[in-house]
């Protein structure tokens, strides 16, 4: 009960969840605590509540997505909202309509919340300026994927009790990764020590200024780590050659039992999915029930998204 009282005191200052960069520590704690209450609900036989009954949620996905879109859809439905997922392939966007026009059209239908994924960084920010409802960023370009970072934090807390003081390595295609950026901001905010490990061609400019230590040697980067977050090699975003081959990448940057040895004995393996087995991660490690929490991440993703929908849903 004490915690509930504390929670009510927290005020979320914004209507939109555009990125971890915009959140304060107390806002993050509020979201994480709220999500914890949904973990149990999602395991029970009656998974539905009426928190968002009468509210309308539109999922606007401009990029293909399986887990994030279904996770948001399920989250909205379990909270009792009416959820509509826009299929962009058949929409006016393909007929040349601009993002703002699409937003204005949807806005006229009075949704309470729009969940958006877009290939262009900053697209949710543009949307948020134009619509009356709340906007939740489900991933924009290379910039942010806030709910992914929040569910990663929840997974870590669920297993380790806290994030503070842990040593976390984020490995792989940092350059193209919004998951990496959101996680760097969030894990730093929660008091972890963050290493990034990647080949030089997949490191963004001045990444060290975001508060991370940079490694190009997997064994040095994983040394003594509590958490190993692997990223998907985003070949679809790569124009031109960044790497000699998948084989060479796996040899030096793929997570294998041999490289994992330098991390803590009980180090957890995470991955935002979908995985390229045998490219960034050894297939047996990915399925190792003692080390890998990859499926738990998916499970807790629904809880995090329920918390975010509840907290950010436009208050009338």
């Amino acid at each position: 009960m004490a915690t509930t009282k504390k929670l009510k005191a927290v005020k979320i200052n914004q209507n939109h969840l555009l990125g971890i960069q915009d959140l304060s520590f107390s806002e993050v704690s509020h979201i994480l605590n709220e999500a914890k209450t949904y973990i149990k609900l999602n395991k029970s036989s009656n998974k539905k509540v009426d928190t968002l009954r009468g509210k309308t949620q539109i999922n606007l996905f401009f990029e293909p997505s399986t887990r994030t879109q279904s996770s948001f859809e399920l989250a909205g439905k379990r909270l009792g909202a009416d959820v509509m997922s826009m299929n962009i392939v058949n929409s006016a966007i393909k007929k040349g309509e601009t993002l703002i026009d699409t937003a204005m059209t949807l806005n006229a239908m009075h949704p309470d919340i729009i969940v958006v994924r877009h290939q262009d960084s900053g697209a949710p920010n543009l949307l948020a300026q134009k619509v009356n409802c709340s906007v939740i960023n489900a991933g924009d370009g290379r910039r942010e994927h806030p709910t992914q970072a929040l569910l990663d934090a929840l997974t870590i807390i669920n297993r380790r009790g806290k994030v503070e003081g842990l040593k976390i390595a984020i490995c792989g295609d940092i350059l193209h990764s919004r998951v990496a950026r959101s996680n760097i901001y969030l894990m730093n905010m929660l008091g972890a020590e963050v290493n990034v490990v990647a080949p030089k061609t997949l490191l963004p400019h001045s990444i060290e200024l975001l508060g991370v230590k940079v490694f190009t040697d997997m064994k040095k980067g994983l040394d003594g780590c509590d958490i190993v977050m692997m990223l998907r090699l985003q070949s679809e975003r790569m124009q031109g050659s960044f790497l000699p081959s998948h084989r060479e990448y796996y040899e030096y940057f793929g997570l294998t039992p041999d490289k994992l040895e330098v991390a803590k004995k009980d180090a957890l393996i995470m991955h935002p999915g979908p995985m390229n087995r045998g490219v960034e991660i050894d297939t047996n490690l990915a399925d190792d029930i003692n080390r890998s929490v990859i499926r738990e991440q998916v499970e807790l993703g629904v809880a995090i998204r329920m918390a975010c929908l509840k907290i950010f849903c436009k208050k009338n």
Binding site: Q21, T98, L99, I100, H118, Q119, D120, S121, G122, A123, N125, L126, D140, G141, R142, R143, E144, R178, R181, P204, H205, S206, I207, L209, L210, Q239
Partner: protein, 430 residues
């Protein structure tokens, strides 16, 4: 036309080393008859027109070396009439127009059209450029000799660089015999491909693909190497980074002859101004770091950079109301060129004479035109300036057809009060 006596002014004419209190006489043909401290109130002939400038500053009308007009093809962004009005309100009396129209200015039949439209619809002097290569495709050079004979002032692919070094060497070689001025927009298109803003911490945070400073430097280095073998009149349109400044400084010290420009945007803004994905600040070359900006200011002071341009690129609202990646590149700036540049005078970064020089006599010299000075006998193209007048930039006040200013709501000090073209009062601020 009556003779005009412009009196009670501070006359600044960098080309003739004049900075003194006095006046200027415009003869019946619209030419400058006399200038300086000798022109005072007590010796006015009765039949002449007297204009008291009330201690304002009189400088030559500005020459802007980089301006995009929408004609033909993009009239909805800017036409000659709206450009002319915008230019005059900014004290600009001569512009070099870019060839990136629809169709591209790459053949002689287009030049007559441009000259006719420019003459009929605008009151300013238009110096049209033609493209370096057919349709700016970077494959086949245009007819330098024939185009020049029709009245083309210089050759440039405008917002593109010639990527092929073999073609570039032949362009320079050919240009040296036709005595053509070659203007390069220095950016390696492959290094810059997909890039949206400066490659650095901001691009990492915003998740926008970066354009490395190297993309600019590498083309400048290449062209300066080519210039050693194939000397011609060569001008770098505008540069943006400290790296390029040091290359140019070194080359000039070695005695290489060429010239360099910079956009007022890169002198007055930096990448931090992009803030929350402001598409009006999506520019080419991109805004870079504060250190880069400072190095560009320093390069004006030490003569490494010769010219300041507005890089006036009108874009309609629809092409900017998009995500940053989808939005068009460029900003309007011809109206605010001088007032924004004066910020650098007021904050003591650049002295007034130098500043005016880079927007008058220097570009005129590079272009080989009789403009940008108060030479006796030259056209009386003049700009009258209140150097201390404070004002705020508002989109709604802009004369340009497009309103994509990167400095909306900026407080500036210094405003153009009157503009004369060929001795006629063409603009007056009330």
């Amino acid at each position: 036309m009556k003779e005009k006596y412009l009196i009670n002014a501070r006359i600044i004419d960098p080309k003739n080393n004049i900075d003194e209190i006095g006046g200027l006489i415009i003869d019946e043909k619209g030419n400058i008859k006399a200038t300086g401290k000798k022109v005072v109130c007590d010796n006015l002939p009765s039949k002449s027109e007297k204009i008291d400038l009330k201690n304002k500053i009189l400088i030559p009308g500005l020459v802007d070396m980089r301006v995009f007009v929408g004609e033909p093809g993009y009239e909805y962004k800017e036409n000659f009439r709206t450009l002319s009005n915008a230019a005059l309100s900014g004290g600009v009396t001569s512009v070099v127009s870019m060839p990136n129209t629809l169709p591209v200015i790459d053949n002689i039949s287009m030049v007559d059209f441009l000259k006719r439209r420019g003459r009929d619809k605008s009151r300013i002097n238009i110096y049209p450029t033609a493209s370096l290569t057919k349709n700016t495709e970077g494959k086949q050079m245009t007819e330098f000799g024939l185009l020049q004979r029709k009245g083309i002032s210089a050759f440039t692919d405008g917002d593109k660089a010639v990527q092929n070094p073999q073609l570039m060497s032949r362009i320079m070689n050919f240009a040296s015999q036709s005595n053509s001025l070659i203007i390069q927009h220095a950016e390696d298109s492959i290094l810059a491909s997909g890039g949206l803003i400066n490659d650095g911490e901001i691009s990492t945070r915003l998740g926008l693909q970066g354009i490395p400073a190297l993309a600019e430097k590498i083309i400048v280095e290449r062209d300066l190497s080519l210039l050693e073998e194939y000397f011609c009149r060569y001008h770098i349109s505008q540069i943006s980074s400290e790296k390029t400044v040091s290359i140019i400084k070194k080359a000039k010290k070695e005695g290489k002859i060429f010239s360099t420009g910079v956009s007022i945007n890169n002198l007055s803004l930096n990448e931090n101004d992009i803030g929350d994905f402001k598409t009006f600040l999506k520019l080419s070359p991109p805004l870079r770091t504060e250190d880069d900006r400072k190095s560009l200011v320093e390069a004006i002071n030490d003569g490494t950079i010769d010219v300041i341009v507005s890089d006036h690129k009108p874009q309609d609202e629809e092409s900017k109301r998009l995500t940053f990646a989808q939005a068009a590149t460029g900003a309007v700036g011809i109206e605010t060129l001088l007032p924004l540049a004066l910020e650098l005078y007021h904050n003591k970064s650049i002295n007034l004479n130098k500043l005016i020089c880079t927007m008058t006599s220097n570009p005129a010299k590079i272009l080989g035109i009789k403009k940008g000075s108060l030479d006796i006998g030259s056209d009386a193209d003049l700009c009258i300036l209140d150097i201390n007048k404070p004002w705020v930039v508002k989109k709604s006040d802009l004369m340009s057809k497009s309103k994509n200013t990167p400095i909306e709501d900026r407080k500036l000090q210094g405003q153009i009060m009157k503009t004369f073209v060929k001795g006629e009062l063409a603009f007056e601020r009330t």
